[in-house]
Symmetry: C2
Amino acid sequence: MDRIRSQSLASLPKRRSGAGSVLVGIGDDCAVLNIPSGYETLVTTDFSLEGIHFRREWHSADTIGHRCLTRGLSDIAAMGGEPVAAFLSLAVPAETSQRWIDQFIVGMLRLAKRFGVTLAGGDIAQSPNGVLADISVVGSVPAGKAILRSGARPSDRIFVTGELGAPIALLEEMFAAPKRKFRPASYPAHFYPQPQVEVGRYLREKGIPSAMIDISDGLSTDLARICEESGVGAVISANAVPVASLGRHEVDLRHALHGGDEYQLLFTAPLKRRVPNVIAGVPVTLIGYIDESGELAIEHENGYTTELEPKGWEHFSAGAKNKVRTTRK
Amino acid sequence: MDRIRSQSLASLPKRRSGAGSVLVGIGDDCAVLNIPSGYETLVTTDFSLEGIHFRREWHSADTIGHRCLTRGLSDIAAMGGEPVAAFLSLAVPAETSQRWIDQFIVGMLRLAKRFGVTLAGGDIAQSPNGVLADISVVGSVPAGKAILRSGARPSDRIFVTGELGAPIALLEEMFAAPKRKFRPASYPAHFYPQPQVEVGRYLREKGIPSAMIDISDGLSTDLARICEESGVGAVISANAVPVASLGRHEVDLRHALHGGDEYQLLFTAPLKRRVPNVIAGVPVTLIGYIDESGELAIEHENGYTTELEPKGWEHFSAGAKNKVRTTRK
């Protein structure tokens, strides 16, 4: 948890006051939230399933709790919004210890606190098999300012935050050596992924993106979603994609292109719009441009351009019998 | 489905316009809702688990979809709110047919339509075992007007809507004759329970209740929650409890007292406050009063008063190995 320790709480992004508050939390039929006048309400739900999104033999309870909430916060970030409240529905097998549940909640609450998010409701129930956690996050955004997937236009440039591919590269190592222990502190991008709420907020405040999405399902798949919703095509440059390192080595380009299970933001911006190289300490990289083709293409180092197939996120099931067919919002 | 057919859509309660709308639904990172100025946002989540809340051998897909959404709408009703949007996270085993999923959605959407609720987001994922559905409902209520559990005061009278006990009495018959087919049309209170949104709205508009809850977990358990949150006690009269009929016979009083799996409203009102006998076609019955004792008591026909133990809702698991330990909001 070096990365978590190294950031003092005072310097961490907090929810802006005025963007919403929880009036009634856990303990009534509903939570009651105040989303102030002039703001719209954002809602996202994400189901995290054992064997698909995590494995208890690889992930401690607190990292699972953290990862579940990250998915919801990242969806709020991708709209340029402020998270306000989270709601947890957790189902665990009968033999699950109270300590495991407590640690799950600790992991979730630690992340919630960083963003000023209140856990405002939830259920804990017994599952017939495996741990299932559904997280709902409610946030807010100034009226009319939510950044959708559908606004990309030909000649817009395409940007991505952070460096890509480390979580999936680690997952591949886990599959290759299932008994090996990987220290969460050494692999924070996988065990404690950070939602880019502050970056999303900055981009929205400055009116930079024409379209935005988080790349939790992988760059290729999520870029395809922007193109589909916007009715456009895209070309990205293989050279330009910011590839993460794992240990001493850069990960494979395919992990950066198709990986997923990471929570960086992918956005488009009009050609003439200035985009900073770094926002809130996170690098922002130009990786390509939008065109009218309706197709996804990738320019390789050798100068050739080929089709970029969306191949994101079916990873945890790779070694399992289960075939995933998650449809995401 | 007699009951559903017999009510023309035109005469059904619809969400009041002005209480909120869905600006962006399925297909982006978040849904975007407009909750108008002067309203607060209500949020509730409910996990419905196979073997605990339903059984596929007893319940058709459309009744399960209906029942899942009823739980969320009923929570909104219990605050005196208007439902606006629903979000579904559904996990089903690999062998589940597309037809089953479609029918589940049909059952849910039919109910949603009746209340002007939009299905604004969701996931469908693969479950390792059994069907699990988590439903989130977002609604609205005029600012400061949400009816909480905590407002009951000594000398308040206690009321309940509808007639109680039929769903659980039917469940007992199902356990006794697991192979028998029960026609959903003949047992609408169990298969197609109706959330009391219109009654909740009326009560809130008239400022009648000091506290309110839905009795999805059973009268005794949910009355205990009001007493706990309000720091009061309660006495109810066994004679007064409105007992439902199943077929030609009244159900046992114990089912009406402890049943649950039904979606009537339990509310308290100040002594001098006039309360109609019927609201939106639903009977409203005076069943007791709040006192300062901090305890729950029941007056029997013979004049004796004994403790009323909270014994609600652990039913579907009665014949299963699973022991339920659901904690509800």
